[in-house]
Symmetry: C2
Subunit: 621 residues, 2 copies
């Protein structure tokens, strides 16, 4: 016999289906069938388990809900409507220009969305980051609920997340998998074999619960069990039917991402339009964590000099980050099992409670940073510059979601030496420059590095710092300022015949080249373009006007890096200077750092030779 | 009682350790301790199980060996020496400039290396690609052996590979995991808990064998069991000691990636320098597969026109790929569970035996393409342009290994419409341009697409094709040629006041803008820059000379894409034209395709307005 509770939940689920169908019909696109499979899962969560105050999305005690299968956005918006957060009229603006209800949800537009989804396999890893915050930092009892699709379990990032959550015993995390058997193109690998998924999650240390995803009582039982499970994260594996409730579409291939063929008929079959409202249970009172800020940042100070005074930018990174962590209790650090190389170990030693070892799982590391940022922390995640390529999709999605994250890539370029190309970041500047709203910084000296590490904490969006491996001369005093978007003119005279634009290791090569050239009677200007994005238009334009020609020198591929960044100063239709570009154009092998710079044609000797050639060719004045 | 066999294997292993220590000592860098842990595993493989003809690395019957833990290269080179493939003198050139023996092995330099490794978690996924070739295409009985580190099992890509291999029952694949407990920074998550790893691999359908990684007989037994296991891939989980054999370093933290403190003492402790040679068993005779080539390629032909004649580039991609597959038996296709969107399903329908469904696992998809390319196939792998960001590290490593792979990204840019930014490829041109030796193509019409699909088969390195989602007018006849590195001047006159450079969808916007402007008496040149890399210097320079100003228009971020590519024509110190850049500078939401182009400021109206402004400002003549 059906209880009142069961009837109410079923009615709510039916309405979520109807509203999903209506939203997609109004839009003429979207994913109603992927929403219909998960409608019962969502109804029971909303009415019986989620603790959330829709009027106070910033409430520290709120549970967190992440729609990892972001394409099921009609279901999410239907749930918002049922909860009274949006109205009928807004629901039907789905996917229209200017609507908050995008094809895939983003926190940029909707206050109840925790993170941008739509690239599959990302919601769970980000949820791990939030659960880590709840458990290790905020120590608030909120639960993180992540609704996943079955298709996305093929993504390796899901298993990075499973490993991390299992190992950290994140019992405040529940994954709900909508096993509807059908992906976009056709059946998934395991179809309705819930045991196949259960074996995998169990192996990674999770508690697993199988459920009938269309039996609201069974779902209720599963969620209750998840909430009462201690010491392990839980996954609810729910057998569902894609397009459930409408005979003409349910469990049929070829209907992914399409509105229902006959929406009116489908709505009738589903019981018609209703306006059921659900009272979502508010969270218990919780204390917002206000991390301590000493307000006084004592950055490391380095003496100007070479030789014994030379310092690797990565060393300055670690030291500055540790100091920043002392001054600000909201700064956290993450690393991909290379903290002895990136030097984030210096932070880990001083602030172990705010350091997250992510092992060699760069996707999970960036995702955890996004999750921590969503909870108000200021994350710095570090690995080799080269290995951020592993997480590019996560970085891209972080920017879509407006996450404020700081990433530090050590071991850039051929200057790392003998390890060879697999360990050299040679595409990182291109990759990060192309990210919307990003900031890209590339220091050449320890004091500069330290100041930029501090400045990153105030930046919005994705901020990247490229920290060199080898020791470099300290050329700036500890009191020098390095505003983001600025640059430093290190050498100039009225007789300058050309401007060399460099950053990081090539700044020192450029300075050495300038000295060699001065001996030959050729004066050149040298600019340290430590802020690769945004770029210092004014200084570059002034140099171009005065010297006519710019020679860019970078320890990076010739595409998308410093050379291209310089052009950002000249794309408004004004006069453009002559440009010559030195960059890494061949595939390096193993060799000593200085040999590498020479072989790539970006050392002092190569720079001087290029300038001399330009003088001979009368390209420069 | 120790048998002769055991003694010989032990002696060989001891020599591999000694030679690893010597190579790193000579180099002054490298990873001897990571080599020493796996020396017994390597010795037994080399002497008793690997079937390989070092004089004929191209032998089709050869087993394939992949060092997934690429930093243990001293062990690999020590093995090559024991097998007589390299000599003592060469061994000691390790990591020197010009040596074939790089810090991490690459097939570009050594004929016995199957794939470049050094970025962890990639060897096994590539091995899956080779095993797929052996089992499904070549039907030769070779075995693929992959030596993994324990640290790299944290990478999600390992589990994408485990899933793929388990599901495909790749019993010709053996993973050997050197469980030495220590990563770079310190202990791994599971240390010596072999069962933790066993549970995970078993859950993914693998046969698992635990072994004492320093007991040559136990290892021998494990390999024999792996070779005789049918219907499942096998993983040998070997408990080992990092730095095994040298008391002062073994099982100690802080020694990763460093030569031994006292190499001479270590060599003595290990039994001194010897010159044991091992006779590696040759493979049985095998027939090299010569895929059928009809030699006659019948590309699809599209009629010029708009409206009913309009064709989406992705449709032309699928149709051309299917045709290419008919003409060439060596063409294979892979897709990330979106073949109905990318249209690679057209290939799958016609050539199911050469189609590989990789589900939503883009890293594994690109890795499989690399593995298939290593076996001589010509792979085309497709997914949404946006989702290749997931595999950027694999693409980067493919280029380091010199793999010839073709990648096709559909759904680029804001032009996809209502799905929103998570599905829009907006960084793909930047990402692919920065890859060394890459080719980047971006067609605007169906005939152009078809010709470029065919041309890709002849390209070396990483070749990327950006295939638009929506139908576009056909503007070229089917007989037109589109050489890589070329461009098309679509509109020109002596009165041109500016040149609009476009590609893909913006070509049509540029043409429409040119017509609007012509009505106002303003003539502009229009260039279709379908070859983004390499770029057509000559045509761009001629246009710059004649029209003075270039306006680039792209459905991509302003960094690293078409606008930056155009600059490649002007970085040799010659005169640079004035440049104005239209690109996607905001974060799009959901909207119809034409609304998106307008909102991004890259539609015909925006282009025309920009030109008019430049005319008013007298920037153009």
């Amino acid at each position: 016999m059906t209880t009142t509770k069961t009837r109410e939940l079923t009615a709510l689920a039916r309405q979520l289906r109807v509203d999903s169908v209506r939203a997609a019909a109004a839009a003429g696109s979207g994913h109603p069938t992927s929403s219909m499979s998960a409608a019962d899962l969502m109804a029971v969560l909303l009415a019986r388990h989620l603790q959330y105050d829709f009027e106070r999305p910033e409430h520290p005690g709120n549970d967190r809900f992440i729609l990892s299968k972001g394409h099921a956005s009609p279901l999410l918006y239907a749930a918002y409507k049922a909860a009274g957060a949006i109205n009928e009229t807004e629901l039907l603006t789905f996917r229209r220009q200017g609507s908050r209800l995008e094809g895939h949800p983003t926190p940029q537009r909707l206050p109840w969305v925790e993170v941008a989804t739509g690239s599959l396999g990302q919601g769970l890893p980000v949820g791990v980051g939030m659960a880590l915050s709840g458990k290790r930092l905020e120590r608030i009892g909120y639960r993180v609920w992540v609704l996943c699709g079955d298709s996305e379990l093929a993504e390796g990032s899901i298993w990075e997340a499973a490993e991390h959550a299992g190992h950290e015993h994140l019992d405040n995390l529940t994954a709900i998998v909508d096993v509807n058997r059908l992906g976009q193109r056709g059946p998934t690998r395991h179809q309705w074999d819930l045991d196949a998924y259960a074996r995998r999650f169990q192996a990674f240390g999770w508690h697993t619960i199988k459920a009938d995803g269309h039996d609201v009582d069974d779902i209720d039982r599963a969620y209750a069990e998840a909430r009462s499970t201690l010491g392990q994260p839980t996954v609810v594996l729910a057998r569902t039917v894609k397009g459930k409730g409408v005979e003409s579409v349910q469990n049929r291939e070829g209907l992914h991402g399409k509105p229902l063929p006959d929406a009116d008929e489908a709505i009738e079959e589903l019981g018609g339009v209703h306006d059921v409202r659900v009272d979502v249970q508010p969270p218990p009172p919780a204390r917002m964590l206000h991390p301590v800020r000493s307000g006084h940042l004592e950055l490391p100070r380095y003496e100007i000099g070479d030789g014994e005074n030379a310092v690797a930018p990565r060393d300055a990174y670690g030291q500055a980050l540790a100091a920043l962590g002392t001054a600000r209790g909201d700064v956290v650090a993450l690393d991909g099992e290379v903290s002895d190389s990136t030097r984030s170990e210096l932070f880990a030693k001083e602030h172990p409670e705010r350091f997250f070892e992510c092992y060699i799982a760069e996707q999970q590391m960036v995702a955890a940073a996004v999750g921590l940022a969503a909870r108000g922390w200021v994350p710095y995640a570090s690995t080799f510059a080269a290995f951020f390529t592993r997480a590019y999709d996560f970085i891209r999605m972080a920017s879509i979601g407006g996450a404020d994250i700081n990433l530090a890539g050590s071991h850039p370029g051929v200057a790392i030496g003998a390890d060879g190309p697999s360990q050299m970041g040679l595409e990182d500047l291109a990759m990060f420059r192309a990210v919307h709203g990003s900031t890209v910084l590339y220091p050449c000296d320890a004091n500069q590095t330290a100041h930029l590490v501090a400045a990153m904490a105030e930046q919005r969006g994705v901020t990247y710092l490229r920290t060199g491996r080898g020791a470099l001369p300290v050329i700036y005093g500890p009191g020098e300022e390095f505003p983001v978007g600025g640059s430093k003119v290190l050498r100039m005279s009225d007789a300058d015949r050309l401007t060399v634009v460099a950053a990081g290791v090539t700044v020192h090569e450029a300075l050495a080249a300038a000295r060699l050239l001065a001996d030959e009677g050729i004066q050149v200007r040298v600019i340290d373009l430590y802020s690769v994005k945004p770029v210092d238009r004014q200084t570059l334009r002034a140099a171009a006007e005065r010297t006519g020609c710019l020679l860019t020198v970078e320890d990076h591929r010739q595409e998308g890096g410093l050379g291209d960044a310089v052009m950002d100063a000249f794309v408004d239709g004004g006069p453009v200077p002559r440009v010559v570009r030195l960059a890494v154009r061949t595939m390096p092998g193993s060799a000593a750092p200085q040999e590498q710079l020479h072989a790539a044609g970006i050392d002092a000797q190569s720079i001087a030779a290029a300038v001399q050639l330009l003088v001979e060719q009368a390209v420069v004045k």
